[in-house]
Amino acid sequence: MIAGLPPKDKNVPRRRHPVIESAPPRLTPVGEALAKQISDVLSDFDVSITAELDEVCCLVRAPDVERICRLLKEGPLTSMKYMRLLTVVDYLEDEAELEVVYHLYSLEHHHKMMLKTRVSDPSPEVPSVAGVWRGAGWYEREMHDLFGVFFQGTPDTRTLILPDDFEGFPGRKNYPINEYDEW
C-alpha cells in the first residue's frame, strides 16, 4: 500500500448502495436428494442443513468433524472420497467466530457439498481430518499459519508457507496489513 492513500475500508461499500441482495439457493434435484441423504446419515449428530447456490451446505459442531468426515467418506451412500478444499473464513468481527469449510466431492455419485463448522477465538480447535483424506494435511498447516486455527491430531504442525518465526495470523481480517513499510 502506498503511504498517503487512505486504506480501503473493506466492509463499507465504496458508494451509497444500501440494498445487499442474497444469491438464491438453486439446488438441483441431485442436490436435494443429497441433502435428504445427509440428514439421514448424520442423524446422530447435531447438524443443520442449508444450501448455498447449488451446493448443499451442512453446519456441524466442531468436535464431531472428524467422525462426520469419516462417515461421509466411507458411507456408500455419500462416499465423499475427494476433498477439494479446506479453508477458513474469518467472521471474527461480526460474529466472533471462525468458520472452517470443507468442500467435498463424490466421484461415484457426482455429489458435492460444503461441510462447515464454527470455532471461536480463545481456542479455535478442530479435529484434524488428515487421517481421513491425506490431502488435507497441507491445507491444515496453511490454515494454522494464516488463521491460527489449531487442528488437533494433524500429523505435521510445522509452518508451511510462512517463515518459522512469523508472528500473528495474517489471514485474519484484523491483521494490520497497512502498518508495515514497503520494501
Binding site: 461499500p13 451446505c57 472420497k81 475427494y82 477439494r84 479453508t87 466421484l107 491425506r134 490431502g135
Partner: protein
C-alpha cells in the same frame, strides 16, 4: 519399503564401518525445481529415504490481497497464480462471479473462452513436456516445444495484447472480439503445432532411455491418488477418469466431442503421456470450436463495478494442472469477503514425499517434473 539399516542397527549387528545418511537441500534455487521450491532429501548413497518439501518462497498473499481489490482487479491477480495457464485461471474467477450473480454469458464469448483455455492448455502442456525432457536430461525437446508454444503465444498477443498476463476475460464475457484473420492464423499455427508435437513424440516418448527413466518409476495407485487430492493428468494417469470438463461440464464443453486420456500404471511415463495425448485432444477441440463459432456479442451488459449478491460460491474448471477451484464468500461488496483458491499443483505437490521415497535421487527430479508444479500457484 524394507527396514533400512541405520547406524544403530548396524552397530547392533556388529557391522563395521559407519554410513551416514546425507541431507541434500535441493532448491530454492536449483535448475530442476521449476521455481522457488525447496525440498530436503535425505539420501542413503543415491537412494532417497526421506523427502521434506518446503514451500512458501513465492507467497504473495494473493488471497488476502483479493479481499481488498475490485473483482475487475482480481482478474489481474489471477493471471499471476498459475503463470503458464493464465486464461484458465481467469476463467475460473469470472465463472465463480457469474455463478454468484446468475449471469449468462453470450454464446460467442463462451466459445472464445473455451478456445483460449484450450490453447492455453496446449501451451502449458508443451512447456511441461519440454521441461520434463530437460529434467530427464534431453536438452532438445524443450526448444522444439518453445518454438511451437511461441506460435500460440503470438496468437494470444494478437487477441489480448499480452503474451502471458492477459486480463482478457471479464465478468459477463470477454474484453473484445477476436481480431481479423484470426482463423487463418490459428489454422496455420495448429497444423504446425501438430507436426511439432509429433516430432517431439517421435524424439522422446518411446526413446529407450526415456522409457528406462520413467516407466514404473514412482507409481501411485488411484485410491491413494484420490486420497492425496491429486487432480488433472496426475490423477488420470492413475486410472481415475476424473475430468471437470466431463464431470461437471462448464462453458460449452457439452457441444464438443473429445477424449480424455486415462493411464493405467500411475507411473511417471503415464503422467507424461497423458499430457501428450491431451495436447492432441485440445487441438481437436479447438478445431471443433472454430467450426461451431458464430458471430455475435461477446459481452453482456454489466455495471462497471461488479457487485455480486451476498452468498458463497465454489466454481472450478479443468486447468492444465488439474482441478482449479475458487471459493468466494461475498457480502455484497465490490470486493469478496473471502476468496480461496484450490490450487491443483499444491495438492499434487503434497504427494511428493510418498512418491519419491525409495527411489533414486535422479528419480526425485523426474517425479517433481511429472507433477508439473507452478510455484505461483502453490504459494499464491
Amino acid at each position: 519399503m524394507k527396514q533400512r539399516d541405520t547406524l544403530d542397527t548396524r552397530a547392533a549387528k556388529g557391522v563395521p564401518g559407519r554410513t551416514v545418511d546425507m541431507m541434500i537441500n535441493i532448491g530454492p534455487q536449483h535448475p530442476a525445481t521449476h521455481g522457488v521450491f525447496r525440498m530436503v532429501l535425505t539420501v542413503d548413497g543415491e537412494r532417497v529415504i526421506d523427502a521434506v518439501p518446503h514451500i512458501g518462497y513465492l507467497h504473495r498473499g494473493s488471497e488476502k490481497l483479493c479481499e481488498y481489490e475490485d473483482y475487475a482487479q482480481i482478474i489481474t491477480l489471477f493471471d499471476r497464480l498459475d503463470y503458464v495457464a493464465n486464461f484458465n485461471n481467469e476463467l475460473v474467477l469470472v465463472m465463480a462471479v457469474e455463478k454468484l450473480m446468475g449471469l449468462e454469458v453470450p454464446e460467442r464469448a463462451a466459445y472464445i473462452r473455451m478456445l483460449m483455455c484450450e490453447l492455453n492448455r496446449i501451451t502449458s502442456h508443451l512447456l511441461f513436456i519440454g521441461t520434463f525432457a530437460l529434467d530427464t536430461g534431453a536438452i532438445t525437446p524443450v526448444l522444439y516445444n518453445f518454438r511451437d508454444r511461441e506460435r500460440i503465444q503470438a496468437l494470444f498477443e494478437s487477441v489480448s495484447g499480452a503474451r502471458m498476463m492477459h486480463n482478457y476475460f471479464r465478468v459477463g464475457g470477454v474484453k473484445e472480439d477476436l481480431p481479423d484473420q484470426f482463423n487463418e492464423r490459428l489454422e496455420s499455427a495448429l497444423s504446425e503445432i501438430e507436426d511439432g508435437v509429433d516430432e517431439v513424440d517421435r524424439l522422446l516418448s518411446t526413446n529407450e532411455i526415456f522409457l528406462e527413466r520413467t516407466k514404473g518409476v514412482a507409481r501411485i495407485d488411484g485410491v491413494s491418488a484420490l486420497d492425496w487430492g491429486l487432480s488433472g493428468p496426475c490423477l488420470r494417469a492413475s486410472g481415475v477418469p476424473y475430468d471437470v470438463r466431463t464431470e461437471e461440464p462448464y462453458l460449452l464443453y457439452e457441444r464438443v466431442d473429445f477424449g480424455v486420456p486415462v493411464g493405467s500404471q500411475g507411473d511417471c511415463w503415464d503422467r507424461y503421456y497423458t499430457r501428450v495425448l491431451e495436447v492432441k485432444e485440445s487441438i481437436r477441440i479447438v478445431r471443433q470450436i472454430m467450426c461451431q463459432m458464430a458471430p455475435g456479442e461477446v459481452q453482456t451488459k454489466t455495471r462497471r463495478i461488479v457487485r455480486p449478491p451476498q452468498g458463497e460460491v465454489y466454481a472450478h474448471a479443468e486447468n492444465p494442472r488439474g482441478d482449479f477451484g475458487v471459493y468466494i464468500v461475498s457480502k455484497g461488496n465490490d470486493s469478496p469477503y473471502r476468496l480461496k483458491v484450490r490450487p491443483p499443483s499444491y495438492c499434487n505437490l503434497q504427494a511428493l514425499p510418498q512418491l519419491v521415497v525409495g527411489h533414486y535421487l535422479a528419480d526425485a527430479i523426474v517425479v517433481l517434473g511429472t507433477l508439473d508444479i507452478v510455484l505461483g500457484e502453490v504459494d499464491r
